[in-house]
């Protein structure tokens, strides 16, 4: 196949052959977010799976409870996401075998995932990964990873198709970014404070209904996994299906 490419001097149009090659990746849409509270953490994800302009499934969960109070989601190319989840679950199983069923701490899980991702540095898992749970002090914790394993802990993060729509909303409503104490004339920032589970669920629902309105790859259903010291709980809310 050949295609017409214009050079810097446009009259000098070249006919360059374009190599056709198998593309091992695809974009399966969807979006996820993680929020850490004082004694809990959540990961929420929509349940729509897409390719191009088609809906593959209206209910294909992508947030998982991996055990040891660890929530896990890898959003992007869903085959890689599923492979990564399976690899992590397997790694966790071996950790239990090798260390007498010792509980894997969230920060160790994060480091393990970094190695899983970086291990494929030159053929990456095409996913934005978020894990959540409780840290060693029992405080809510969220870690997020780029496709090749760079990671950091944060209070809240969004990933996937609707991330750029949801993240500014989270910055404003969870970290109170750009909010000042009334009367201080923009000198005193609104003080950070932990949100309750109910407040977080409300924020998550509004974030996802809004992303559904404006992003075509987001919709169908919302699944929220909540990790507390008492274990993991799941909530489901329908989203618009258009």
């Amino acid at each position: 196949m050949a295609s017409t490419v214009a050079s810097e001097y446009s009259n000098e149009v070249k006919n360059v052959p374009i190599e056709h090659q198998f593309n091992p990746y695809s974009d399966n849409g969807g979006t996820i977010l993680g929020i850490a509270g004082e004694d809990f953490a959540v990961i929420a994800g929509d349940t729509r799976n897409t390719t191009d302009y088609s809906i593959n499934s209206r209910y294909q969960p992508k947030v998982f409870d991996c055990g040891d109070n660890i929530l896990f989601s890898a959003n992007g190319f869903s085959a890689d996401g599923d492979a990564l989840v399976k690899r992590f679950q397997n790694s966790l199983k071996w950790y239990h075998f090798d260390h007498n069923d010792k509980k894997l701490s969230l920060k160790s899980a994060a480091r393990n995932i970094q190695h899983l991702l970086y291990g494929k540095r030159f053929f990456p898992y095409y996913v934005h990964t978020i894990i959540a749970g409780l840290d060693e002090e029992g405080k809510g914790a969220v870690f997020s990873f780029d496709p090749v394993g760079s990671y950091e802990r944060s209070q809240c993060i969004a990933g996937g198709a609707g991330a750029s729509i949801i993240m500014p909303f989270l910055d404003n409503q969870v970290d109170f970014k750009n909010q000042y104490v009334p009367g201080s004339h923009g000198t005193e920032r609104r003080k950070a404070q932990y949100l309750t589970v109910d407040e977080v669920i409300k924020l998550v629902r509004d974030a996802f209904t809004s992303a559904t309105e404006r992003h075509i790859h987001v919709g169908d259903g919302l699944e929220i996994l909540i990790a507390t010291k008492d274990g993991v709980r799941t909530e489901y809310f329908p989203l618009k299906r258009d």
Binding site: A6, S7, H185, D206, I216
Partner: protein, 263 residues
């Protein structure tokens, strides 16, 4: 000079290559349909317009009036469908005035296809033209390169396959007005639910022989948003005022007239 200007063509071509960006037009995803019935024709459209994966407009109007009884549903580049419809609509009115006759759908069809063919597909308008005129009810579809098609039912846009699936399985000869409207709206809904380029509401236009065209804007609204979980009203002063300056932009003159004195 008549026609469209291609002055920026070379510049855009250069920009595309050197900056890896492209000026992109709104809306390629759409579902539009047309259905004929005994005594008239109906067209329908969804109301979502997109820029890539982002919804640009949740309730846009894709049904255009070209003449009082000739309407057109547009898919493809939003600006092109809008402009070509307006241009040919104007010419159609001039032609109707000149000939002292009601405009005909075949005239609209011929003018649209000749215009689109001239621009070799660069005017990205994909249209379903329908209407009633002294020769009866008509339904056509036109592609951006200028080819046309006739049929009892038509669908176009990214949701055309979903819509056509419904039309192929539900269409029958001798539909009534109501049946045709429901079939067209059902076909659009198939696009709304199954095609990500289509969404929100259903617009319908019914053109019946011997009657005025009936434009049914938002005939179905199956996608009303649920109320939000909480209010996001900020306390006054949350955005700090760092400095304040008031500009006199327009000159204001005041004159007080004492009515009693004047009397």
């Amino acid at each position: 000079m008549a026609g469209l200007s291609f002055d920026n063509y070379q510049r855009n071509q250069y920009l595309t290559c050197s900056t890896n960006t492209k000026a992109q037009a709104t809306s390629t995803g759409t579902t539009i349909v047309g259905v004929k019935y005994d005594g008239g024709v109906v067209i329908a459209a969804d109301t979502r317009s997109t820029q890539g994966p982002i919804v640009a407009n949740k309730n846009c109007a894709k049904l255009h009036k070209m003449a009082p009884k000739i309407w057109c549903a547009g898919a493809g580049t939003a600006a092109d469908t809008e402009e070509v419809t307006k241009l040919i609509g104007s010419n159609l009115e001039l032609h109707s005035l000149y000939t002292s006759r009601e405009p005909r759908v075949v005239a609209a069809l011929q003018m649209l296809k000749q215009h689109l063919f001239k621009y070799q597909g660069h005017v990205g308008a994909y249209l379903i033209v329908a209407g009633v005129d002294p020769t009866g009810a008509h339904l056509f579809s036109i592609h951006a390169h200028g080819s046309t098609d006739v049929g009892y039912y038509q669908s176009l846009g990214s949701g055309s396959l979903a819509a056509m699936a419904v039309l192929e399985s539900k269409w029958k000869q001798g539909l009534t007005r109501e049946e045709a409207i429901e079939l067209a709206a059902d076909a659009i809904e198939a696009g709304i639910w199954n095609d990500l380029g289509s969404g929100s509401n259903v617009d319908v236009c019914v053109m019946e022989i011997g009657k005025d065209a009936q434009y049914l804007r938002n005939y179905r609204t199956p996608n009303v948003r649920e109320p939000k979980q909480q209010s996001y009203k900020f306390a006054r002063g949350t955005t700090g005022i760092l400095s304040e300056r008031v500009l006199d932009i327009c000159q204001v003159e005041e004159q007080t007239v004492d009515i009693e004195l004047e009397a």
